[in-house]
Symmetry: C2
Subunit: 310 residues, 2 copies
Amino acid sequence: MIRKLIDGIKKTGAPIVVGLDPMLKFVPEYIRQEAFSEFGETLEGAAEAVWRYNKGLVDAICELVPAVKPQIAMYEQFGVPGVAAFQKTVNYCKEKGLTVIGDIKRGDIGSTSEAYAVGHLGSVQVGSKVCTGFGEDFATVNPYLGSDGVKPFLKVCMEEKKGIFVLVKTSNPSSGELQDRLTEGKPVYELVGEQVAAWAEECMPQEGGYSYVGAVVGATYPEQGRILRKIMPKSFILVPGYGAQGGKGADLVHFFNEDGLGAVINSSRGIIAAYQQEQYAEYGQRGYADAARAAVIAMREDIARALQDR
Amino acid sequence: MIRKLIDGIKKTGAPIVVGLDPMLKFVPEYIRQEAFSEFGETLEGAAEAVWRYNKGLVDAICELVPAVKPQIAMYEQFGVPGVAAFQKTVNYCKEKGLTVIGDIKRGDIGSTSEAYAVGHLGSVQVGSKVCTGFGEDFATVNPYLGSDGVKPFLKVCMEEKKGIFVLVKTSNPSSGELQDRLTEGKPVYELVGEQVAAWAEECMPQEGGYSYVGAVVGATYPEQGRILRKIMPKSFILVPGYGAQGGKGADLVHFFNEDGLGAVINSSRGIIAAYQQEQYAEYGQRGYADAARAAVIAMREDIARALQDR
């Protein structure tokens, strides 16, 4: 799937992943009303609203970007119907040729991480049959439990040619409370970055290039991004925090390798709720998908400019 | 819910939580066959098998223990039908008066953690209605992202009188790779333990006693348990790793406070798959629930003996 991601980036010229994180307040009123009138103001109604909203977004952006990243929390908030909407979204995005990064941030002890790996990236044996659960292409993984929480994912990645992004330095303000702590003279994020580099070496596609194992490093920490880029040369970096969280194009250049690859930048509300911003207000709620399209194009240009200027 | 948990421990004399982590290989053959014959060898069939197995277990142990801890990974491996079986299990356990600890190990940046908190412990606004998602009583939370990943859970805990257990020192062999690293002279788990103690102070029930905020510390690390017990005096400690992972009754005493409370010990496969152990083989697969019952009683006695001898 790292091949599919890279091919997609080259084809679209956009190292961009659109975060499908549908808070209900982002969903245009008319879509909410349609869904509620059919399914009631229920979890099912909310899940249906989210799904319709996503479908419109995906139709509008699928030719422009290589990948999407649905954040499963935004679906879990609506219980089982929400999780079903996550599944529909994953399936639809794959049908449209998009690479799907499940932002699930799972991580547990060995046998439990194996269940997550199998459920999200692999397949599970049921009697004599092999069944597929959520079926994302990539998943995000939390490293707090150490390597036995990550290794089951590596195994599935090798078997299925799927990929993971391990949390290294997250984009949020308090990420430093733990991740920046110095241990033996270096911050925790460097330590985890070194682990990622080792896992990346273990999980290379046959044809070489970039590993199945990537990392998450927030756009809000460009200096750390520069250091981590060097520590993990074979890993793609998934970079959240652009746009709404404050990251700008110029902050991103150090996340890329010299080959112009190695990073994929996420924007969520900056794209999916663009129509709620002053800049794109002219689109109105019925033009929410076109507003998202315009925001993707602006983001692509912002990144291209920054990369040209470096 | 901390009140409900403590009352349950006192009533049963068992500071025990049964881990409902149903791998298919634990489910008796006859239950699998029944489910597959109705639903096929499909995700739905697997989910149905798991649900029937759980129901039998819950019926057998609900008078003996205060709490259960379904591990959501074991359900997610079967996709959306699996997650629906998780929900049914949560609902059924609550009906039976058990405290339900959702072992979900979630944790993300602020607004995303809020979605998890709301989806698992709280309720969500849908139009003019308030809806409840998964509705566990407690959830486990991963601290890698720092306090802004935890605070949304604290808010929901205060509003709903629910609780969390923050991962501090996990039971798995590689937990030390990150958690034992020395930072400013102390290991990461102590640092996180101090954060938990501070969050615990912020989230006290009106009547005092134990906080809504607890911690996870593995039975496999009794020495660290002793230290963390002192660092987090007002937190309940959820202790996994008893039994199958190698923890023994004598290892557990330091996890408890002088009042005999403050810890709840989890056992998963040691109870739910007891019938597969030599010791309980006489029960056979059709006696799996009775074997689980016998294993709970043995565990209760092991812990009581250890606490008496301390």
